[in-house]
Amino acid sequence: MTETARADQPTTTVAVPAHARRNDVAFHRWIFGGIALAVAFAPALAYPVFLMKVMCFGLFASAFNLLLGFGGLLSFGHAAYFGAAAYVSALAAKAWGLPPELAILAGASAAALLGALFGAVAIRRQGIYFAMITLALAQMIYFVALQAKVTGGEDGIQGVPRGTLFGLIDLGNDYALYAVVALIFLAGLAAVHRIVHSPFGHVLRAIRENEPRALSLGYRVPRYRHAVFVMSATLTGLAGATKAIVFQLASLTDVHWTMSGEVVLMTLIGGMGTMFGPLVGALVVVAMEYYLASIGGWISVIEGAVFVVCVLGFREGIVGVLARKLKRPL
């Protein structure tokens, strides 16, 4: 077992020697450029609605990974922030008649508030307790979505107007919407990157590696944990709100605990604690669901099996393995 060395960490960290850092930042810039290019040209090859879904989930998984990979906290209830934001932005666009940019903003803000509230309860414990508490809290949001009048029960909120951006650009056109989603996606990704590489991000990693030491150095650990929780929830909300506008729908799927499980799967496949792993994981999972839709119910069996295989023998994830091969953090 080669894993014994990092037996106590749920993450696959790649050590970052200080002298390599400048080099790595430049390398990451290149990757960002590559992603931006890919995003720009992908609609020529694939169905734009599918690509928008990949981007929404990519952002979702990246936001989730911010908490798991860099904060060291496994939330099993991230569907709550994703779904709550989807519902709020759907409501904002449909019932309150807000333009899409404000609707998405409203969704993300709602997720931030919810994250602040739930985070305060959940971060009192770590590890398994934390996972269970986040799961149970998310379950309450699920029940609200199921039973409240405004959320439309199992119908969800349907027929959400895509609207016109800033009163100028009609988002009814798939390509116009695609451009907007691409911008949100890249901005969200840049935000994650920025957070991870900021002094705040370094403290987070220090806490994850050695909590007592961080404490003794005078860092107020709970505050850092709460802050990263809220950031993760907010970016998750950004993804959920955007998804609601793309699909013109907010539904129970978005808040169900299987959604929380799915985002864990994406992150696990792609590589926890890597910058680009969650994107790869999201692409793999969404594409799998998309291209294998004809096999219907067996998808969940395959997903489960992938889960088992990843946990048993592929804990680094696709990008994690790549990073090890390249000897560079990705």
């Binding site: 969800g156 699909f247 799927t253 004809s294």
Partner: protein, 402 residues
């Protein structure tokens, strides 16, 4: 399902060759059967609806009539987001002209919206919300088999007439459950009965005992089950456990399918009164068709949803044949102008709001000793004529009806 780039090209070329090969095929129609293939409604819709669609094409002899029909299918997993995504992609990318079946009302309403936006044709068989031809009706949607109103009308109307004056509703606490209760309560009151009380049961639920106990305590004549699928099955099972039938109270299932009765077994389901649009053992026509269906479906008898998928698609093909075109608006107008007629539902018509009118039937589930074997489950109590079975046009608040 969906192919991109080179894949699409290959398909296009293949289709060109196919078109060249069959010179007589003047119109190519693509029909998508979209339903639950893995979840709670996969037994009452699922692969059976695909079989029914293929049978409709074969029986119609579409190829001989110059119509080439392609049937594709997908699983919407009872989720509106997945359903609307598939529908959008079918219309945008895969050249699907009409979508068929779509059980689960929330998904059907979502698909109806996409169909209207893309101006295609949507023939509902599996879903039941009366809103599909009511407040949320669409010129592009035809609702074939049944709806919550017609089921409530049949079951609740008949039970009140037979002395079940006071009702207690066990309502699944979600939009569809409330719609069922609303439609049934209106009919109970209109028929001179009363609603004593109702309890909202969290959805989905496995344990109904405490709610059944409340219903029992209410001393109402009838306990109306405003729920579906697994919830209904559990409620009926547990009702027999608490001796509810023996106490003189009757159970009314507002949405029960043949496949549910099959799952329950006659011992638990006996005496249950229910309404359906179709039963395999109604007449020569239904028996002959069902027998052919069962041969292809591994012995399973068709549900009314399968029957509706068959009849709905045939009616669509008839309109395409008559018009020699698949222009959606023209086909929809033709479908509504032509009386429906098939060996399964008999004669009927399609209203301007998209509601198909045909006879409905009130059945009672047989006792175990009355049944001659598997699928011999129902006794016909009465036939509800098409004119009375469905909600009057002016009560549905459908904008098309004005």
């Amino acid at each position: 399902m969906m192919r991109s780039g080179p894949g699409r090209l290959v398909v296009a070329i293949a289709m060109l060759f196919a078109a060249a090969g069959t010179a007589r095929a003047e119109i190519a129609v693509k029909v998508g059967v979209l339903n639950d293939r893995s979840g709670i409604y996969s037994d009452l819709a699922g692969e059976g609806s695909v079989i029914a669609a293929h049978m409709a094409v074969e029986d119609f002899k579409a190829a001989e009539k110059g119509i080439k029909v392609d049937i594709v299918s997908a699983d919407h997993q009872n989720k509106p987001d997945i359903g609307s995504t598939i529908a959008r992609q079918w219309y945008d990318q895969d050249g699907v002209d009409a979508i068929l079946d779509v059980p689960t009302s929330s998904v059907a309403l979502a698909v109806s919206q996409v169909t209207r936006e893309k101006n295609k044709v949507f023939i509902v068989s599996g879903a039941g919300a009366s809103d599909i031809t009511g407040a949320q009706c669409s010129p592009n949607t035809i609702h074939w088999t049944y709806d919550t109103y017609s089921l409530a009308k049949g079951t609740a109307g008949a039970m009140v007439k037979n002395g079940g004056k006071s009702w207690f509703f066990l309502t699944a606490d979600y939009a569809f459950g409330h719609a069922l209760e609303r439609d049934a309560a209106a009919i109970v009151k209109a028929a001179g009965g009363s609603v004593v009380d109702s309890v909202n049961v969290p959805f989905p639920a496995t344990d109904f005992s405490s709610f059944l106990l409340q219903a029992q305590g209410s001393k109402a004549d009838v306990i109306g089950l405003a729920n579906a699928g697994g919830d209904t099955i559990n409620a009926i099972k547990q009702a027999s456990e608490f001796g509810i039938g023996e106490g003189g109270q009757k159970l009314a299932g507002l949405l029960v399918f043949l496949s549910d009765v099959h799952a329950l077994g006659l011992k638990a389901a006996q005496g249950l009164v229910l309404t359906e649009a179709f039963y395999w053992d109604l007449n020569e026509g239904t028996r002959a068709w069902s027998k052919r269906f069962a041969e292809r479906a591994g012995g399973k008898m068709p549900t009314m949803v399968h029957a509706g998928a068959y009849a709905g698609l045939q009616h669509y093909l008839k309109a395409v044949e008559a018009l020699k075109s698949k222009d959606p608006m023209a086909v929809l107008a033709k479908m509504k102008a032509t009386p429906t007629d098939d060996p399964i539902f008999g004669k009927g018509s399609i209203r301007v709001d998209g509601r198909t009118l045909h006879d409905m039937y009130l059945f009672e589930v047989k006792k175990p000793d009355e049944s001659k074997g598997p699928y011999d489950y129902y006794k016909l109590i009465t036939t509800i004529p098409a004119a009375e079975a469905f909600r009057p046009l002016n009560e549905g608040s459908c904008p098309l009806a004005k």
